[in-house]
């Protein structure tokens, strides 16, 4: 055996992971192609009801910021900007307007991908080992519908 460092066990008798192994795990992509850091950093985005949690969380935070504004005497250069919650409501309205304008503008301005002639593939300097073809683009795993 090339690995001659003694294997240590914890009190229950299970093998302890060595630091090097842990570090190795943090770099090794799982069989499903998931980077180990992804779970650590963004695992929470897969939590159940994350949509509802985000919706209510951000909503409540926004409401709190507007309520907080009631107790602050701001000194803006423009009097209209001093009204309570002006920034929040303006931001909300502007954002919604921009996004909703996407519907009519999309219908008006969107044409086929090759409208101006062949749009072509990716540039020459992309990774030659990248997954290609429709078969690779959507790998199916056990349990997929």
């Amino acid at each position: 055996m090339s690995n001659d460092t003694p294997e240590t066990r914890d009190t229950t008798g299970r093998f302890l992971k060595r630091a090097a192994e842990k570090a190795h795990d943090l770099h090794t992509v799982s069989d499903e192609g998931v980077h180990p850091m992804a779970k650590l950093l963004f695992g929470w985005t897969e939590a159940k009801h994350i949509g509802a949690i985000m919706f209510w969380g951000i909503g409540l935070l926004g409401a709190f910021l507007i309520v907080l504004d009631l107790f602050v005497n701001r000194h803006d250069y423009f009097t209209f900007a001093n009204s309570t919650g002006f920034y929040g409501l303006y931001g909300f309205a502007a954002f919604s307007f921009v996004v909703l304008m996407g519907w009519p503008l999309g219908n008006l301005l969107r044409r086929g991908e090759n409208y101006y002639g062949d749009a072509g593939g990716p540039p020459a300097d992309v990774d030659p080992d990248r997954p290609q073809g429709p078969a690779d683009a959507h790998p199916t795993y056990e349990g997929d519908e």
């Binding site: 980077h35 931001g91 909300f92 062949d118 300097d125």
Partner: protein, 582 residues
């Protein structure tokens, strides 16, 4: 420091290094030069005295100032040098002599242009940026990128030609080609120079070259392109047109209109191109206001933008490199494979959205304050509207559709280490200059210290309770709008397609008319030739029938006919002579 080093413009150093790199086949040495040259350049710049002409020359009676540093050009030069360094690191995994060399020379030309002191030198480096940068687009090697690069080159050269024409007028009028502030656009040459700069700054209706070429550039090329050309134009405007009223409105329109295109655009690199447009708008508007606070804001925002926009282009470049596409409709869920790229992209996205503790918060706020101080409520509302728009397309859309959202099922490798390193450095700068100055001189004060109006900058307080509260309100409620629209399914889906912009006018209507004119000429030309030959042929036949040896006059009754003709002509001449004399 030896005299030749004090007189060495860091931009020239990069151009020289770039020329060497083009001919250097040894990959690692070439890349070492590409990383080393900007580092040496930063050292040279740090040691250079300000407001002194380090290198001058006199050519054909023109006094050229080849190297001069002052408060305004220092920040741009430093940002360009840092960008050149990050680009070289980002390109470490590639082996492309032309791209390495041209990227260095392109950055160098932008730096050299920022550090020159006269219009003629500015023009020369202005053109070098055009010629070197086109290789970033050509490097993609696709048919579409070839055509885009030719359109790009045409527009960039047009800008240079207009600049040269403007310089000629200025020289003829004043006899002076030093960099000068034009107060009046009606002054000879001023408008030509204004339009030349406006093309490179991608003013509304002059902006199409940007959205046309950047998304078709190579992975590394788009990152390189994002830093220099447009910001050089911002520098030129800040230098020569500060306080020019028309820039206020142009800038405000520039911030607003790209927002709508960015929402419906599917190619995320094109979204970033529109986002570039929108951020330049903030700077142009501030230059139009022209107060010390506004100019500080424009310069600081340019510095911050070079970092976070570069970062966003780098993250999309990493996605393109690994997956072969940046189309939102084909991406999604990539955080599983590329978590580090996701983190860095999020830093860029939050920075550009001006979240407190990130860079744009301390830079854009100066612009908004300056506009408010100047008493321009409509402009201010437009900029606030655009701020919500930035959050939409760069703050949320880019990371959401690439890394989160619907899982595309793409499982790829994380970006190469060199890409992550470059992104990490840009992310570090984007955070570092947005932090409060807990240690005096660091955090945002580091950047404020470098600004052209240093005292005004140091008196400005970005971290007031009011400002943090209002900015958070804007961002949180706008984000809530996103969550709400998503939840109720009224957020427009990402669909593949080409979005028409004003370049439709020349790429379809203009091109169609040129084609039509070609077809018409193809038919009219031969027809006109046929008519011409018909007429001349008939005339020849007649003449030949009368005068040739086989003709009418050569036949039988020649003598008689000749005598009659001679008599008739003689009579005619006599008659004419009689009339004219009489």
């Amino acid at each position: 420091m030896p005299a030749f080093l004090t007189a060495l413009n860091p931009g020239w150093l990069l151009i020289l290094a770039g020329i060497v790199a083009i001919f250097l086949p040894m990959r690692r040495i070439r890349q070492g030069i590409a990383i080393g040259a900007p580092l040496v350049g930063i050292a040279l710049l740090a040691l250079a005295d300000q407001n002194v002409n380090h290198l001058t020359a006199s050519v054909m009676g023109l006094d050229l100032v080849l190297y001069r540093v002052d408060g305004l050009s220092f920040v741009f030069g430093l940002a360009f040098l840092i960008a050149a360094l990050l680009n070289a690191i980002y390109a470490w995994h590639t082996d492309d002599r032309v791209q390495d060399g041209m990227a260095l020379a392109y950055g160098g030309a932008a730096i050299a242009a920022a550090f020159c002191g006269d219009l003629m030198t500015l023009f020369i480096f202005w053109e070098i940026t055009a010629v070197t940068s086109v290789f970033m687009v050509l490097g993609a090697g696709t048919r579409a990128s070839y055509f885009a690069s030719m359109r790009y080159l045409g527009v960039q050269i047009l800008s240079g030609v207009l600049l040269l024409a403007g310089i000629a007028y200025v020289y003829q009028d004043t006899g002076n080609i030093g960099l000068q502030v034009f107060d009046d656009l009606a002054a000879p040459g001023a408008l030509l120079i204004f339009i030349a700069f406006g093309i490179k700054a991608a003013f509304p209706f002059l902006h199409n070259w940007l959205q046309d070429s950047y998304p078709k550039a190579s992975v590394v090329g788009a990152v390189v392109l994002s830093a220099f050309t447009t910001k050089l134009a911002v520098y030129a405007f800040a230098r020569m047109f500060p306080g020019q009223d028309s820039l206020i409105w142009i800038g405000a329109v520039m911030t607003c209109f790209p927002v709508f295109f960015a929402v419906i655009e599917n190619d995320l690199r094109k979204v970033l191109a529109y986002s570039t447009n929108n951020q330049i708008g903030f700077m142009i508007c501030a230059i139009g206001v022209g107060t010390p606070l506004a100019l500080n804001g424009a310069v600081a925002h340019a510095f911050a933008d070079i970092m976070f926009k570069g970062l966003l282009f780098m993250s999309m470049g990493a996605v393109l490199y690994r997956t072969g596409t940046t189309k939102a409709s084909e991406l999604g869920g990539l955080y599983r494979s590329m978590p580090w790229t996701t983190i860095f992209c999020l830093v860029g996205a939050i920075s550009i959205s001006a979240m407190p503790l990130f860079s744009a918060f301390v830079t854009k706020s100066m612009i908004l304050s300056a506009v408010a101080h100047a008493g321009l409520p409509i402009i201010w509302l437009m900029l606030m509207f655009a701020s919500a728009g930035v959050l939409e397309h760069s703050g949320i859309k880019i990371p959401y559709f690439a890394f989160f959202g619907h899982d595309s099922g793409k499982r790829v490798k994380e970006a190469p280490f060199n890409m992550l390193l470059a992104m990490g450095m840009a992310a570090f700068i984007s955070i570092a200059i947005g932090l409060p100055a807990v240690i005096p001189g660091l955090g945002y004060e580091w950047l404020y210290n470098l600004l052209p109006y240093r005292e005004e900058a140091m008196n400005y307080q970005p971290f007031t309770f009011d400002h943090i509260l209002t900015q958070l309100q804007l961002l949180v409620l706008a984000t809530f709008a996103f969550v709400l629209l998503k939840r109720f399914g009224v957020y427009p889906p990402e669909k593949p397609g080409t979005i028409l912009d004003t370049d439709w006018l020349y790429r379809k209507v203009g091109f169609g008319m040129a084609q039509w004119a070609g077809t018409v000429w193809g038919k009219v030309g031969p027809a006109m030739t046929a008519v011409f030959f018909g007429i001349t042929g008939r005339a020849y036949d007649r003449i030949e029938a009368a005068f040739s040896p086989r003709g009418e006059l050569a036949r039988g009754g020649l003598t008689g006919a000749m005598a009659i003709w001679t008599a008739a002509l003689l009579g005619l001449v006599l008659l004419l002579a009689f009339i004219t004399v009489g």
